[in-house]
Amino acid sequence: MSDKKRSFKKSRIYVILFALVTALVFSVLITSAATMLKGRQLENMALDKKTNLLEAAGLVPEDKKPLPEDIKQIYDAHIREVHVDPRGRIVETPAGNSLQLYLIHTGQKVEGYIVPISTRGLWGKIHGYLAFEEDGETVAGFSVYSHSETPGLGGEIESNWFQDNFKGKKILNASNQLVSVGIAKGKVENLPEKLQDHYVDGISGATLTGRYLSEGLEETLTKYESVSVIFRQKKGSQTHLETILDE
């Protein structure tokens, strides 16, 4: 009997059966863990997106993490999510060609807008936000909430020193044409002076991440140019929350 048992344990059938049972047991374990924790994870991700949005808008400090309740409260008080059509006008129901946009406001006064960035990176998608001041050309802030770049190299796009460089950059050149904001190769101070306003310091060892991000920013800003134009035209005059992007 024990001989038979031993020979069964050496047979191929046993190996295959063992592998199958192991695979089954552990996949059930992983699946149940993932399913049970999914709600909390999604909540964390949503909160993280809001935090990043507020960081881009400069409404929360980057180095200190506010409490989740504070984030929700600031978000509700200062951010309004809208959809605009390709001409930059607000639409009630998002259609296939409408663009997502966030308005920054205090009370009824619009203080700027935030464009969601979603672009190709070296290893995967880069998701983030680019905030503008109400003049429609000055960058107010930049943040990244999800990426799969190499930690320490391309992953530096989520560090404060990199994101801080975006503040105050202009997306228009001297002749009022859209030039977007690019990631320089190396330091901005080595570029010709007339380009310095449109570039941020690059990350050494992450040339490709920088190139893809530059391309993505330009592409996104071209799509949102109609919105920026409206902000530029209304500069200083009428920035009422309910009417700014109406006909």
Binding site: Y14, V15, T22, I30, A33, Q41, N44, M45
Partner: protein, 210 residues
């Protein structure tokens, strides 16, 4: 009972100190370089690795008489990978910010040589309780080095301890500067190298004289 306890103590001392996975076996260096810029990430990584090492030891050792030897590495990796994925999921649910900072390094516990090394060298040949203790011991040994490196790197590199500034302002006023290199990977290399040297030059632990 007494012999039992001293037996576990023996395993613990061996894992934590005498055959410390980082300082003696020089395993797990990759993550030791990557997550030691700050104490908080190093500590969470240490806890995650210790738990995975302990429970993979326990599970693999319980299965050791049933695991067919020709697919044993695959089975060991299945156990380890599952535990790591579950750990990662838990971190994402409860410690989201830290899990974001650790990024791929939690996932890379799967390929951490300490875990597979202990599974293959210890858990396959010893009983579940011993293997569990051995996992804890090696996890603690790894944690000890990791936390020591992170302590020095955070203190010298950013002047902080767990995110709080500890270097008094007057020292900065007198011209003290944070050592930028400590924040970068070479800083970790220097510190790990120095720690290994220090450990192996202490009396009674030199392996060359054995």
């Amino acid at each position: 009972m007494h012999t039992d306890l001293s037996h576990y103590k023996e395993i613990l001392i061996k894992g934590v100190w005498r055959e410390n996975p980082v300082a003696y076996q020089v395993l797990g260096i990759c993550s030791a370089l990557a997550v030691t810029v700050k104490m908080s990430t190093a500590l969470v990584m240490s806890i995650a690795l210790t738990l995975v090492a302990a429970f993979s030891g326990l599970i693999i050792s319980s299965l050791r008489n049933w695991i067919p030897s020709n697919i044993r590495i695959i089975v060991e990796l299945t156990v380890i990978a599952s535990l790591v994925i579950i750990t990662d999921q838990i971190l994402k649910a409860f410690l989201y910010d830290i899990s974001k900072q650790l990024s791929i390094f939690v996932g890379l516990i799967i390929t951490n040589c300490i875990i597979l090394g202990r599974a293959e060298a210890f858990a396959m040949a010893n009983n579940p309780a011993d293997s569990f203790v051995d996992g804890i011991a090696n996890g603690l040994g790894y944690s000890m080095i990791l936390v020591a490196v992170a302590f020095l790197r955070e203190l010298l590199g950013s002047g902080q301890f767990f995110g709080f500034s500890v270097i008094p302002q007057f020292l900065y006023d007198m011209g003290f500067q944070d050592m930028g290199i400590m924040v970068l990977a070479p800083g970790a290399f220097f510190i790990i190298g120095l720690l290994v040297w220090l450990k192996n030059s202490l009396p009674g632990v030199s392996h060359e004289k054995k």
